[in-house]
Amino acid sequence: MKILFYTGKGGVGKSTMAAAAAWQLSRENRVLVVSLDPAHNLGDIFCVTLKNGAKQLAENLHLREVDVKKLSRDYLEREVTVLTDTYKYLQVLNLDRYFSILKYSPGIEEYALLTSIEETIRKEKGFDYIIFDTPPTGLTLRFLALPQVTIAWIDRLMQIRRQILEKRYTIQKIRGPLPEGKKSPEIRLDYNEDEDGVIQRLKIMKNNYDTLNGILQGEDCGVVLVFNPDVLSLRESDRLIEGLNDLGLPLRLLINNKVSEENREMASRVEEEFKKMAGGIPLQRVALSEALYCGTEQKLYAIPEDLLSNLQWKEKQDV
């Protein structure tokens, strides 16, 4: 199963490219296309309404839309409920207000996105291709980086936690067993790693993220960068390419979209820059110059360029 992320600045036509690729692929493969972009163009592009965020367009083509805001809200509500229950006996006033600040925390949206991606990859085993249409660059970079950042933090926290447990154990050992029946004012603390909720939780999370990281950096994953023949695109894509490099995420294809007679020269110049930034990555031009919407889906199906051949990479690319 191959996983593709279509990335790029807003408005370059990545949703369209993702949709077109999905359509072309679905002739011979089972394809799932998922939109993570809050702008949600997929429904418009294919001119369908999605029920509960899902629609089967054809036998081999399925559509999904992820409502990131709702995911974040749901996640927060769940956690706040758990927290409120656990801490209701602590003397913390206005607990709800205290925890509702979480809404504004950096990271919740990324986390929600990542969780949904991870779930999708894990659960949808019946497809040959899963194509993700990503949100604008900043958010994308952040959620792609999330697994590694999280793993780094988890490692450190586990280290400190283990020190804590070890010291607790030492103290217990030296204090000796509690005298029988005596009601002691001291609290006996958990020191056993298997019983410590914190470490267990950390281990599970680390496992999930390690797995996810493995997938994202692996051979079956690819990032497609869509851009337009203008300088603005160049700047933004620069960021993205560097980010992907840092994270070790495989960039497989560059698409120069909306190339026409008028901007052909600009297109060439821009492509020169790209070759410098990302040498060795195949680059493709597409001439589609309009945004597609309901009613024009024929244009989608009629895109002449072959969007597929570069998407069927083999392991040789990784060498």
């Binding site: 154990y169 030492t170 030296i174 004012p185």
Partner: protein, 587 residues
């Protein structure tokens, strides 16, 4: 007058006054009551505020304050004869020292377990609270100076002791591994630790480590820096643990020997009011006695120890007397023991040393000083220094002689000397370690105002290595001068200054918060102490220091400046205190 009688009288005085004077303070001044919930219950949090049995607190308190201090001071004070020092150890302890400890503890208890520093800030002034950081910082530097000097002096005279210290350090590290890494059962580990310590002592008899004073200075410097940088359970905690067993053993044989020897005191009871002692100058008993005998009678550190953790763990208010007042007595008892040892055997030791020196060089290069029982006051200090028998060595020799004169004579004298020497040096070495850690902390607190004004300087000075080096370097620099009779009283002065401020704080607490008819029992000793310490510092700076500066200008001026700063802080304190009292009277 024999050692036995003195021990018994001392015991009776301490116990008797505990139940009369002590109980009166508890009842009428502090008005301790079991009805009032202590912070350990009221603020119980399972972390710091946990009620503990009074024996445990007593043990902790005793272990924190017992060390080399109570032994050294009385040895110096012998120049006044054995009686004056003894009276200070008895009555200074009961009427001032223990009161100081107890008031610090109880004021803290009534203040939700906050430290005496906090109480001072609240009752007197913010400046006073901050002064604690400053005075403690300089005090710690002087501790390093005085204790490094003591250790090196012992090591130079008896290289077996240096060997024993080194091997015991190794034993402590092994014990630490057993307890904290291997998680061995504690009683078993303890037995192994004690066996290792015995092996260390045995090894030192044939593997001494001789070196010169200067070499030890460098070694100690390096030791301080390293020891204060490693985790506490590697060396500090296990050595602390082993030390307590040394202490028990030392006290046991010392006590038994003193009781059973029935030895008459050789030294005169009283000599002159101002014998030659500190810095080669005539030293008047008042006001200088607190500069000579500190721990054992009165020590400022105790107020911090009492109001640090003990107050947060006191189960009921009436436990306070046992923990605060009672623990101090054990220190006093230690000092009594040493006075007995030196009083009973000191003259013999001196005469023996004379003879040994004369025998070693047929034509004695330095004619022996004619120390007789008549000119004891003037010549005690000179003679003992010339014979390489300064206070720490004197203690070891006399202690060994005392044990040898009792039924415990079967223990080889060499071993007793090593054990006594190890007792002093092991505690002193642990102290050097802890002082550096706390000095680092004080330095950072002291420099806090610089954070916004001189960022670069702040950054450099509070870097953990710099902050560790500064007190260690100054301390060792001072110790290099070998001027024990300058270093020890400087340390004592700083210590007593903290005690004076703490006791005044305790008195302020009693005066302000407890409407008691017997406030005088707290206020009177506070003023007596404060006046004495202030006069002592002024006397020291004006009479003794000039001589020291002449002998070693670098170190002399350093000490003088430190004393000056402390005197200034003292003046600021008393100004704030008086202002506070005036306001209280008007209100």
């Amino acid at each position: 007058m024999t050692t036995t009688v003195i021990i018994i009288i001392g015991f009776l005085i301490y116990v008797g006054l505990y139940f009369t004077y002590g109980k009166k303070i508890e009842r009428d001044v502090i008005k301790a009551s079991d009805e009032i919930q202590t912070p350990s219950h009221r603020l119980y949090d399972g972390i710091d505020y946990i009620p503990a049995h009074k024996a445990v607190l007593f043990g902790h308190h005793f272990a924190s304050i017992a060390g080399a201090g109570p032994l050294v001071g009385p040895a110096l004070a012998m120049c006044w004869g054995w009686l004056p020092g003894l009276l200070w150890v008895w009555f200074g302890n009961v009427l001032i020292g223990s009161v100081h400890d107890y008031l610090a503890l109880m004021a803290s208890v009534r203040y939700d377990g906050k430290s005496v520093q906090f109480v001072a800030t609240d009752l007197i002034s913010k400046r006073t609270g901050t002064a604690f950081y400053w005075i403690v910082f300089f005090l710690l530097i002087l501790v390093v100076a005085a204790f490094a000097n003591i250790i090196a002096t012992i090591f130079v005279k008896t290289p077996e002791i240096s060997g024993a210290s080194i091997y015991m350090t190794i034993a402590a590290i092994i014990l630490g591994l057993l307890i904290y890494r291997a998680k061995m059962n504690l009683p078993i580990a303890t037995v192994i630790g004690i066996v290792l310590m015995i092996i260390a002592i045995w090894m030192s008899t044939f593997l001494p480590v001789p070196a010169s004073y200067e070499v030890w200075m460098v070694v100690l410097f390096v030791y301080i820096i390293i020891a204060a940088a490693i985790p506490v359970n590697v060396l500090l905690q296990p050595r602390d643990y082993l030390n307590s067993f040394l202490l028990y053993f030392g006290i046991a044989i010392g006590f038994l020997a003193a009781i059973v020897t029935f030895r008459g005191f050789e030294a005169p009871a009283v000599t002159v009011f101002s014998p030659i002692l500190l810095g080669g100058k005539p030293t008047p008993f008042w006001p200088a006695i607190p500069l000579v005998i500190a721990c054992g009678s009165l020590s400022g550190f105790h107020s911090l120890v009492a109001s640090g953790t003990s107050s947060k763990q006191l189960t009921k208010e009436t436990d306070g007397l046992f923990v605060g007042y009672g623990a101090m007595f054990t220190e006093g008892f230690l000092s009594t023991l040493i006075i007995c040892a030196i009083g009973g055997f000191g003259y013999t030791v001196i005469k023996d040393a004379h003879a040994a020196q004369a025998a070693a060089a047929a034509a004695a290069a330095v004619p022996p000083l004619a120390l007789t029982l008549d000119n004891w006051g003037d010549l005690y200090t000179k003679t003992t220094t010339a014979l390489n028998l300064s206070a720490p060595n004197m203690i070891i020799e006399c202690f060994a002689k005392m044990v040898a004169a009792s039924f415990l004579a079967f223990i080889p004298t060499k071993l007793v000397k090593i054990i006594a020497g190890l007792w002093i040096s092991a505690f002193a070495l642990t102290t050097l370690d802890t002082t550096n850690r706390i000095a680092r902390y004080c330095l950072v607190e002291m420099l806090a105002p610089l954070k916004n004004t001189a960022e670069a300087a702040y950054g450099i000075l509070t870097n953990r290595w710099t902050a560790s080096l500064i007190p260690a370097a100054i301390g060792i620099y001072l110790a290099w001068s070998k001027q024990f009779t300058i270093l020890w009283p400087s340390f004592s002065a700083a210590n007593q200054l903290i005690a004076a401020i703490a006791l005044m704080t305790g008195a302020a607490f009693v005066a302000k918060k407890m409407k008691s008819k017997f406030t005088v029992m707290a206020v009177a000793p506070a003023w007596v102490l404060w006046v004495t310490v202030t006069f002592a510092i002024i006397w020291f700076m004006s009479v003794v220091m000039p001589g020291a500066i002449a002998k070693a200008p670098g170190q002399g001026w350093t000490v003088q400046i430190i004393m000056g700063i402390m005197l200034l802080l003292n003046v600021l304190f008393i100004v704030d205190f008086v202002k506070m009292r005036k306001k209280g009277d008007e209100a």
